[in-house]
């Protein structure tokens, strides 16, 4: 009897421990409040959808074990740099985060990176395109977004093909992301032969663009490029429209990719946005869901179509998952090695990280597309892919008025 009972207990214990899932703790902050809240929420939803799908499929499988993905923290960083530092320190020291995802935006990510590097933890960054952070000698950063230098090249190439005589104005946020995007673009514009008639950066959190718009009108450009994130981008577009500025093309960063953009009504129409991903772009997927499946699941869960911030968020999880599975372990050094060796195509596109020490983690596989808001036959605003020409879903509308 005793032996039977003991054996039963032993078998029970065996069953329990083998099916018993351990956790992988992933920490990150979300800008639930503050200027970045719109874009950050979209990124968060990407993380969340990935976590739900992975756990539903039995978790991440590595080294014979199944790991359940658990988010520790997802604290509100209030779009604030100081909060990011405090919270990432907390997630590493007190909440036992094994891996980190970045906050949303280049500035907040640069700050989080200091903490994760100080404590030697892997962080996958999404929503962060600025490349300078990766030149500071890191070991554990991995960038999912195509770097800032790539953002406006496509716009200028497209413009060159359409209207080489265009005169260009740059009006952009004086913050690390937009500056990192616009500076190389200015150089490229001049190289390609455009006349840059005006260029000025506005302070972050600027809400009134009348002064700068007056200056733009005086400079008489035909094309305006710039913006920053959602609040300034949407306000700039609205005020340009209210002031009836005569432009043939407006390209703004980030903001127009959000589904919320259509709320601007007529001010939203015609605006072009450089995008990390659009639902219309199709890739030969080697790992994870297809673009169509991703978009369907996202729309079903959140009642809005996914933006590229959401796609980037989901891809973060996907790439980390694959690296852990490839490494067969959750050990930081092994996973980092697996990430360094990554070269794979998912619904999001090709992902490959630079490994040289002076640019470690920089994204070198991913390309960008251009999208434009256009009115379809029924007058509803929809986003169409207009560049590259090989992958477009509609022709560029130019001029927009």
């Amino acid at each position: 009897m005793k032996r039977l009972a003991l054996t039963a207990l032993f078998v029970l214990a065996l069953l329990l421990t083998s099916g018993f899932a351990q956790n992988i703790n992933i920490g990150f902050t979300v800008s639930k409040t503050g200027a970045l809240n719109v874009d950050s929420l979209e990124q968060y939803r990407g993380f969340e959808l990935w976590r739900d799908q992975v756990n539903a499929a039995g978790g991440i499988k590595a080294g014979g074990k199944s790991y359940k993905v658990q988010f520790v923290g997802s604290y509100d960083d209030e779009s604030n740099v100081k909060r990011v530092q405090q919270l990432y320190t907390r997630m590493i020291l007190q909440d036992n985060a094994d891996f980190l995802f970045s906050p949303y935006s280049s500035s907040l990510t640069a700050t989080a990176a200091i903490v994760t590097e100080q404590y030697g933890k892997i962080m996958l960054t999404s929503g962060s395109a600025e490349g300078k952070t990766y030149t500071l000698g890191n070991h554990y950063l991995f960038q999912m977004f195509a770097p800032a230098t790539e953002y406006l090249k496509g716009v200028l190439d497209m413009l060159k093909a359409k209207d080489p005589k265009a005169t260009v104005a740059f009006v952009y946020e004086d913050a690390s992301f937009s500056v990192a995007v616009v500076n190389p673009a200015k150089t490229y514009a001049q190289q390609v032969g455009f006349n840059v008639v005006f260029s000025e950066a506005y302070a972050p959190n600027t809400t009134d663009f009348s002064a700068i718009i007056d200056k733009v009108i005086a400079a008489k450009p035909t094309v305006l490029i710039g913006g920053g994130h959602y609040p300034d981008g949407s306000t700039l577009a609205r005020q340009l429209y209210n002031h009836k500025v005569n432009l043939k093309m407006i390209t703004l960063l980030v903001a127009p990719d959000s589904p919320q953009w259509s709320e601007l009504g007529d001010a939203a129409a015609g605006v072009v946005v450089p995008s990390q991903w659009e639902p219309q772009t199709v890739f030969k997927v080697e790992f994870g869901p297809s673009g169509a499946d991703f978009a369907k699941a996202y729309t079903a869960k959140y009642n809005v179509p996914p933006s590229y911030e959401s796609a980037g968020g989901y891809a973060c999880g996907l790439i980390l998952q694959r690296a852990i599975e490839q490494a067969g372990s959750t050990d930081t050094a092994k996973v980092a090695a697996a990430l360094n060796a990554t070269d794979i195509t998912t619904f999001y596109g090709r992902t490959k990280f630079a490994t040289a020490p002076n640019e470690h983690g920089l994204q070198i596989g991913h390309s960008m597309v251009l999208a434009q808001w256009q009115k379809d036959k029924s007058g509803t605003l929809v986003k169409q892919v207009v560049w590259p020409l090989a992958g477009k879903s509609a022709n560029l509308v130019y001029p927009i008025h």
Binding site: K32, T33, G34, A35, N37, E78, S79, D174, E200, A201, Y202, A203, T206, T207, D208, S210, A211, I212, D214, K215, I217, A218, P231, T235, Q239, N242, H243, K244, N246
Partner: protein, 279 residues
């Protein structure tokens, strides 16, 4: 330049409240910025609830401002009014922190919008938005109304009397406490109104009042205290100055110039550029 004139009128309106309170009771109202922000939110709430013409909603907002001002006066200002000026500075500042804290808790720091537009009119390449024109007109109308009130009505004259010499006014039978409370309430209502006007122009948060508070200080110091019409003019002057300077330098230098000006004026003209003859 005209844009400068328009936005300057709003600066002037914002400053009028500060100037009145400062001139009448020698209290520097550090809740000024927070109240401006509250005015913005009041407009947002009323507009989203009622969907009436935003400019009609000014009237209830002014009324609310009067009530709120009286409340603030009785809780924090009344007790410190006879103490050295720094006490009222700190007490109004404490109320400011409370308002901003409560506002952040309720509305967070995410931007809000009042989506109400009046058609503007275009001259050549430049369009002046209807909202700016309406805001400036409202500012001027309110300023003139205030001047009339101060000079033609009994309570208004009582306010001026107390501002001139409180003891003499009391000897003449004016209840200075009531008058002070009234003046403070009007000051707050003016700040709230200016916030409400600005709310239709661009996105705002509970922290947006800070910029206006600082501009109000500059304007008040330029104009001298207790002169509402002077504050309006000085506000327009500031708006024009901003408009004149921006074509030549990047917009981000403006705060530096304004505050450099502020410090210089304070140091060179401690009693304001147009100092009152009866010190």
């Amino acid at each position: 330049m005209i844009d400068g004139l328009l936005i300057g009128s709003v600066y002037g309106l914002a400053a009028m409240g500060l100037s009145l309170i400062w001139g009448v009771m020698d209290v520097i109202n550090l809740t000024h910025g927070a109240v401006i922000a509250l005015g913005m939110f009041a407009m947002y709430l009323l507009f989203t609830a009622l969907h009436l013409n935003a400019y009609l909603l000014l009237l209830p907002i002014i009324a609310m401002g009067l009530i709120f001002g009286t409340l603030v006066y009785w809780t924090s200002v009344h007790w410190v009014i006879d103490r050295p000026q720094l006490s009222s500075l700190l007490s109004t500042f404490a109320v400011n922190m409370i308002i901003i804290g409560a506002g952040t808790a309720i509305w967070s720091t995410s931007p809000y919008n009042v989506n109400f537009s009046l058609p503007g009119f275009t001259v050549g390449l430049y369009t002046f938005t209807g909202n700016h024109i309406a805001a400036a007109s409202a500012a001027v109308i309110i300023a003139l109304a205030l001047e009339l009130y101060l000079h033609r009505t009994r309570p208004g004259k009582a306010i001026r009397a107390v501002a001139d010499n409180r003891e003499a006014a009391e000897l003449m039978g004016i209840s200075s406490t009531t008058v002070l409370a009234l003046a403070f309430a009007i000051g707050i209502a003016l700040a709230a109104a200016s916030g409400a006007l600005v709310s239709t122009l661009f996105p705002f948060t509970i922290l947006s009042g800070g910029v206006y508070q600082l501009k109000s200080f500059v304007v008040t110091v330029l104009a001298g205290l207790g002169k509402p019409l002077g504050a309006l003019l000085a506000g327009i002057l500031l708006g024009l100055l901003e408009g004149a300077v921006t074509p030549f330098i990047a917009v981000s230098w403006i705060p530096l110039i304004e505050f450099g000006l502020f410090v210089i004026v304070l140091v060179a003209f401690p009693k304001g550029i147009f100092a009152r003859s009866a010190a």
